[in-house]
Every structure is written in structure tokens, then in C-alpha cells.
């Protein structure tokens, strides 16, 4: 366990070395929120109502702030694995006395921590200016708890895509498609509450809403019963995807071709 903590710390220190770069990247959350404030402000005004499907303008903005924070803070494990396969570095990683997947998990945690913190900081400022004060402490608590499961689900998916690099080397295209599934079916751009009934049913049967919608929805509309229900399903997905990842890793090891290094 110590060695994985060391990897997390090492990656965290690496990132702290470039705070300006990180802050610059976080500005995109401000751009995103500004655009959506225009869209939803106009939509609410035209609709002539304070609430659409139970969500107010402020709920919508804080929902989007949390969703964008998750999107920008999720691990980019597939890109790292893909790069390591292409340049042969994977041979050195596989030789080391740690588990390959746990190495990437720890690396991802260290990488995400500062990014999530920075995005929450910039997002908080932007959303507060655009939509007023943030949700209650209960909302923050429920969001933070479900963020852990959401992050693990993201990691599993990114690692699964990354393992495809053992076969096809370049995985960016797969990531793009996965990202769009999360954008739409995960409820990043539009909360599931706004979907037609039939699409809500499909989305809820998939893991995507538990990566994005769950923390963002509980953040703006904390509900104890819903929290336990969503948390339960989220962790069922975590167990299923971790299991799938372990099987995929065993299979991938056998087909890896190392290019040198």
C-alpha cells in the first residue's frame, strides 16, 4: 500500500510544479458555465417559469459546475497506457514490483486530485457569480461521497480503453466516443430529468449516469433516500467494472507486443 501512496504523492508533487498551467486549463470550466448560463437563462426566461422538471436556473448552473468538474478531473489513463505501449515504456512498468493496474490507479488519483480541486475553485467562483450561492452542505457531502464511485467508474472505463492499446496502440478515437456517451447518457450537458421517459430508462440501465448525473444531481437536490439508492447501484457498477477490468487485463497481457523502449 505504501508504494501506491508514494506514486500518488509523486504525481501530486509533479503537478504542483506547474500551478499556472493547471489554472489555465481550469479556465475552460468558466467558459463552459458562461455559455450555459446564456442558454439556460434564455430558456427559463422564454419558458416563463422558475423551475423546469424540478430544477431552477441556479440548480442547473451548479449541476453543470459539478458535472464539468468531474469531466475535467477524470483520469486520462488510456492516453498514458497508449503512450507507454507505443514508446515501449510499458515493458519497464510491467517489470516493476507493483500491480500494473494499481500503478495506473494511483497515478490517476495523484493526477486528478489537484485538477479536481482547481476546477472546483474556478467553477465555484464562476457559478457563484452567474447563479448565486452554492447548494447546502448536505449536497456537498453527498456529492463528495458519490464522486469517489464516479471517479472509480471513470478509471475502469479509461483503463479498459487503455488496455485496447495492447492490441491497437491508438485509443483516442475510443475515448472520444466514450466521452460523448458520458456527455449525453451520463447527463453531463443535460440532466436526466430533462430526457424523454424512454431515454431516461435506457440511460439508467447503463453505468454512465453513475459517473456524472449521480454526484451532480445529489449536489443540487440532496435527498437521503435517493442518495442510498444511487450509491448502491453505483457501487454495483464499480464491482462489475473492476471485475471486467481484471479479466481484460489478464487477456491483454498475452497479446501485448512491446516496440522497444
Amino acid at each position: 500500500m505504501k508504494k501506491y501512496l508514494a506514486i500518488i504523492t509523486m504525481q501530486l508533487i509533479n503537478n504542483i510544479a506547474y500551478p499556472g498551467d493547471f489554472l489555465g486549463r481550469s479556465i475552460s470550466i468558466g467558459i463552459f458555465l458562461f455559455i450555459f448560463a446564456g442558454l439556460w437563462g434564455t430558456t427559463f426566461r422564454i419558458a416563463g417559469t422558475d423551475s423546469i422538471n424540478g430544477l431552477t436556473f441556479a440548480n442547473m448552473m451548479w449541476y453543470l459546475m459539478m458535472a464539468e468538474t468531474i469531466e475535467l478531473g477524470r483520469p486520462r489513463t488510456n492516453r498514458i497506457i497508449s503512450e507507454q505501449v507505443k514508446n515501449g515504456e510499458v515493458a519497464y512498468i510491467l517489470n516493476k514490483p507493483y500491480n500494473f493496474l494499481m500503478y495506473h490507479f494511483s497515478f490517476g488519483v495523484g493526477d486528478s486530485l489537484l485538477r479536481v480541486a482547481m476546477n472546483i475553485g474556478v467553477g465555484l467562483l464562476a457559478a457563484w457569480l452567474l447563479a448565486g450561492p452554492p447548494p447546502s452542505l448536505l449536497g456537498w457531502g453527498m456529492a463528495l461521497v458519490t464522486l469517489i464511485g464516479a471517479w472509480i467508474l471513470h478509471f475502469c472505463m479509461m483503463a479498459l480503453i487503455g488496455l485496447a492499446a495492447f492490441l491497437v496502440e491508438e485509443t483516442n478515437s475510443f475515448e472520444l466516443i466514450y466521452q460523448k456517451f458520458v456527455f449525453v447518457l451520463g447527463g453531463m450537458l443535460l440532466p436526466l430529468d430533462m430526457f424523454p421517459e424512454w431515454l431516461q430508462g435506457i440511460a439508467r440501465a447503463l453505468p454512465f449516469p453513475y459517473m456524472m448525473y449521480t454526484p451532480a444531481r445529489l449536489f443540487v437536490k440532496p435527498d437521503v433516500e435517493l442518495f442510498w439508492q444511487m450509491l448502491g447501484v453505483q457501487w454495483l457498477w464499480v464491482i462489475a467494472l473492476v471485475f471486467l477490468l481484471a479479466i481484460a487485463y489478464r487477456g491483454s497481457e498475452r497479446v501485448l507486443t512491446v516496440n522497444g523502449g
Binding site: G20, D21, G24, R25, I27, S28, I31, F32, F34, I35, G38, L39, G41, T42, T43, I46, A47, E170, S173, F174, L176, I177, K180, F181, F183, V184, L189, L190, M194, F195, P196, L199
Partner: protein, 260 residues
């Protein structure tokens, strides 16, 4: 004419290079089309619920996406270094281009091709076709809108990245500028207040790539073609002037660079 022949030769070489990895190229093209389509699902769901926003309907958004995607794809496929010019400058890789008797800016920009740009072009044209604005004069207006959009995309990013000549590494700033111009270009400027609209017509010219050209295709007025043509001309002039004055400041390292 001489420069045009040179461009054709560069594009031919880029295509030949892409064809060396044909399946990778095709995968990029197809995935980019699917990616754009999936992203557009947001608007399908939005208009399923709200029908119209400030006079913009689903068909209008298809048109806007059509113009912006085709313009972005054309810039990316034919002038691929327009997103990475800052890296070329800061890494001292302009040496190669300076040593050849060809226009430096044109040569740098067109010496890289982003394969996925072809996916954007195909998606954009498809989106325009199904938007319902496919008439003879609609096609002409669409072509003008795309042309000015390509000029503005390339010029704006060239201006921002040319700051590397004075400020050093501006890769992060370039990424923010790229993200801002691309994201704002995909939304109708009617959503924003007057001061934001002014910014989107000048400092971050996203409205000149998305909204205004889309309005030009939707219904002809003299104002919109004048706005986009003037915008394209001014940004192009600024880009060439700033890049060349920066070039006088250019200092390369002693690293040996190989341009393939």
C-alpha cells in the same frame, strides 16, 4: 498561382502520408463523424423539450454545426499546424521552413494534416444537407460562410500563437483560445447580452464562424456577408502582419530538428 501549386503539392504529400496508414486514417474520419453526431444529440434532446430558443430551431442548429464543423475540418485537414504553431515556434522548428524559398507561414500551416478533419468536413456537409437549407443559393452562401470561417479560425489562432515570439511558451494560452473560439462558435450568439456579443464579434471572433454565417445562410441580408468578409480580411491581415513581425524576433536553439 505559384503558391497555389506549392499548396497542392503539400496537400498531395500529406494525403500520400495518410494513405500509408489507411485504416488509421479511415478510423479517425469515421470516429470523428460519430463523435460530432453524438455531441449534437444534446440539441436533439433540448429541442425535443423546448422547440425553439431566440428564434433558433433544431434545423438552424444543424446548419450552424454544419458550417462550424466544415470550417474547422477544412482548417484542420489542409492547414493542420494552425493548432500547434506555438509549439513549432518555441521548439525552434521554424529553422527548417526559413531555409526554404517558400512563404514561411503558408508552408508551416499546410505541412501538417489532421486526419480527423476530413470527418468534420463530411459531417458538416451532411449536417448542412439535412438542415433543410439545401438550395442553389444556399450552397453558394454555405461555401462563402465556410471559406470565411476557415480564414478566421486559422488567422485567430495564428495571432494568438504568434505571441510565442515575444512571450515564449504560449501553448496553454493557445489551448484556452482554441477552446473558447471553438466552443462559442457552436452556440447562437442570440443567447448572450450585447457586451458578450461584441466580444464574440471582435476579440474572440466565434460569432463570425458560427452564428453570423448561419444567419447569412438562413436569410440573405447585406449585413451578415459584409460582417464575415470584413472579419476574415481583417483577421487574415493581422495574422500575416503579426507573424512576420514576430519572425524578426525569432531565435532558434541549437537542437537538430527533423521535419518529416
Amino acid at each position: 498561382m505559384k503558391n497555389f501549386k506549392f499548396l497542392i503539392a503539400l496537400w498531395k504529400a500529406n494525403l500520400q502520408a495518410a494513405m500509408e496508414f489507411r485504416s488509421a486514417f479511415l478510423t479517425q474520419v469515421i470516429f470523428m463523424m460519430v463523435n460530432n453526431g453524438a455531441y449534437f444529440m444534446f440539441w436533439v434532446l433540448y429541442f425535443d423539450k423546448f422547440k425553439a430558443v431566440q428564434g433558433w430551431t433544431l434545423q438552424d442548429m444543424m446548419l450552424l454545426y454544419g458550417i462550424a464543423a466544415t470550417a474547422w475540418g477544412t482548417a484542420a485537414y489542409f492547414f493542420g499546424h494552425f493548432t500547434t504553431l506555438a509549439e513549432v515556434i518555441t521548439q525552434g522548428r521554424l529553422d527548417y521552413y526559413l531555409s526554404l524559398p517558400k512563404p514561411v507561414l503558408l508552408h508551416v500551416l499546410a505541412s501538417r494534416s489532421i486526419g480527423s478533419g476530413m470527418g468534420d468536413i463530411i459531417y458538416g456537409i451532411g449536417s448542412f444537407i439535412i438542415s433543410g437549407y439545401l438550395t442553389a443559393d444556399g450552397v453558394l452562401r454555405f461555401a462563402i460562410a465556410v471559406f470565411t470561417g476557415v480564414c478566421i479560425f486559422i488567422s485567430f489562432l495564428t495571432i494568438i500563437q504568434s505571441l510565442s515570439f515575444w512571450l515564449g511558451n504560449t501553448v496553454a494560452l493557445s489551448q484556452i483560445a482554441l477552446s473558447a473560439v471553438l466552443t462559442f462558435s457552436l452556440y447562437p450568439s442570440a443567447l448572450f447580452n450585447a457586451s458578450t456579443k461584441f466580444v464574440l464579434l471582435t476579440i474572440i471572433p466565434a460569432a463570425l464562424i458560427g452564428s453570423v454565417p448561419a444567419e447569412f445562410v438562413r436569410a440573405f441580408t447585406w449585413q451578415s456577408p459584409l460582417q464575415i468578409s470584413a472579419g476574415a480580411f481583417v483577421f487574415l491581415l493581422l495574422a500575416v502582419t503579426i507573424f512576420h513581425s514576430g519572425l524578426r524576433k525569432y531565435e532558434s536553439g541549437s537542437a537538430i530538428q527533423v521535419e518529416v
